[in-house]
């Protein structure tokens, strides 16, 4: 079985945003030469998620608002403090 691993970097601009990566994934698949297989897309960043949905601007805005409502800045999060020393 042939495995190809590609790593791409994406520069975000806002604290909460949706970025359509379909084109980048398609391009990598095309360039790989693989005609029949499965693509796994993983994120190396801790506060990033990958979702599959229709690429509609309105939908992207709705999802962004939903995330902002789910995790608002204002809540008194326990981890809103300085962590003294690595990972403490």
């Amino acid at each position: 079985m042939k495995s190809i691993i590609n790593r791409i970097e994406i520069q975000t601009v806002h604290e909460t945003e949706m970025i359509n990566i379909t084109g980048k994934v398609n391009e990598l698949v095309e360039n790989s030469g693989v005609k029949n297989g499965t693509v796994f897309v993983l994120s190396l960043h801790t506060t990033t998620g990958i979702t599959v949905n229709e690429g509609l601007l309105d939908l992207e805005i709705d999802i962004t608002h939903m995330i902002q409502d789910l995790i608002p800045d204002e809540k008194p999060y326990r981890h809103s403090r300085f962590l003294t020393g690595k990972w403490r």
Partner: protein, 284 residues
């Protein structure tokens, strides 16, 4: 908006070019996030309208055998974009530090002096070590920013960073503008006293010991100092500083905007006071 308090310890181009810097940022400066390209920093500035940022190095050669970025590295970074302003740092424990400062200002084009008595392990009231540098600041016509209050660096002692230690120097060098960082927390009222009394004392907003930037700013400026005092006596003395990257610059801008200051004072804090102090041209 001008952010007068940022540290270039998360700039990938810098960290990648200096093999020892990464270790020193971890072990000496006590900062643990991985570096990001300079572009990320500029995009964060854009997000909440920060036009300029002051980059602060710390020369702790004698105490820790390193510089948390050198003056030359700051100058090289500043050369890459017109949005960065570089301060110099020299080690007061080295006898030739005033000469080093003169070179950093006149040759490298840096615009102020950053001292961190906690990290550099010196007494800022020392006539032997600190006063020659204040004298040099006077001759060079540059401001000096001193870390004040609690230090997040692992070995940093707060006793060197008590605002009241500076009072005699503030009197002795009236032509030098002293920027007391972090509002001197936890000696907030001591720092406020100096800023209220002396025309050459400024305070920066880089306050964060717990909670969000909004929480900390509200607690210190609204509840401890009082917005009435800020509006009447400190409106021209407070400088916006975030302490990036220990603190998210964008959230700090929002925290200031949500304090409920008058429009004039908010503008002075976020921009005008630093613009005047740093002699920056007004926006067209």
């Amino acid at each position: 908006v001008i952010d007068i308090h940022t540290h270039p310890v998360m700039i990938k181009e810098l960290v990648d070019s200096d093999p020892m810097l990464d270790r020193n940022i971890h072990d000496v400066f006590g900062f643990f996030f991985p570096p990001q390209p300079l572009e990320c920093f500029l995009l964060e500035m854009d997000e909440d309208g920060v036009d300029f940022a002051v980059m602060l190095p710390v020369d702790c050669t004698m105490a820790h055998g390193c510089k948390i970025v050198s003056n030359e590295q700051v100058a090289a970074l500043v050369d890459q974009t017109s949005r960065l302003i570089g301060f110099a740092s020299v080690d007061p424990n080295q006898a030739d530090s005033p000469k080093q400062l003169e070179r950093a200002i006149n040759t490298l084009g840096l615009r102020g002096l950053k001292l961190d008595p906690s990290l550099q392990c010196f007494d800022p009231s020392s006539t032997e070590k600190a006063y020659p540098l204040y004298e040099a600041c006077s001759s060079l016509d540059i401001p000096v920013m001193l870390h004040c209050g609690m230090s997040w660096t692992p070995s940093g002692l707060a006793r060197f960073a008590q605002p009241a230690l500076l009072e005699e120097a503030i009197q002795k060098f009236p032509s030098v503008n002293f920027i007391l960082a972090h509002f001197g927390w936890p000696w907030v009222l001591e720092a406020t006293m100096l800023a209220v009394k002396y025309p050459n004392v400024y305070l920066d907003t880089a306050i964060l010991y717990s909670g969000t930037p909004k929480d900390a700013l509200k607690h210190v400026l609204a509840e401890q100092v009082g917005l009435d005092v800020v509006e009447r006596s400190l409106f021209n003395k407070i400088l916006f500083g975030s302490n990036y990257p220990r603190i998210d610059m964008r959230r700090f801008v929002r925290g200031v905007r949500e304090l409920g200051l008058s429009n004039g004072t908010e503008k002075a804090v976020l921009n005008d006071n630093a613009q005047r102090l740093l002699k920056l041209p007004r926006k067209p």
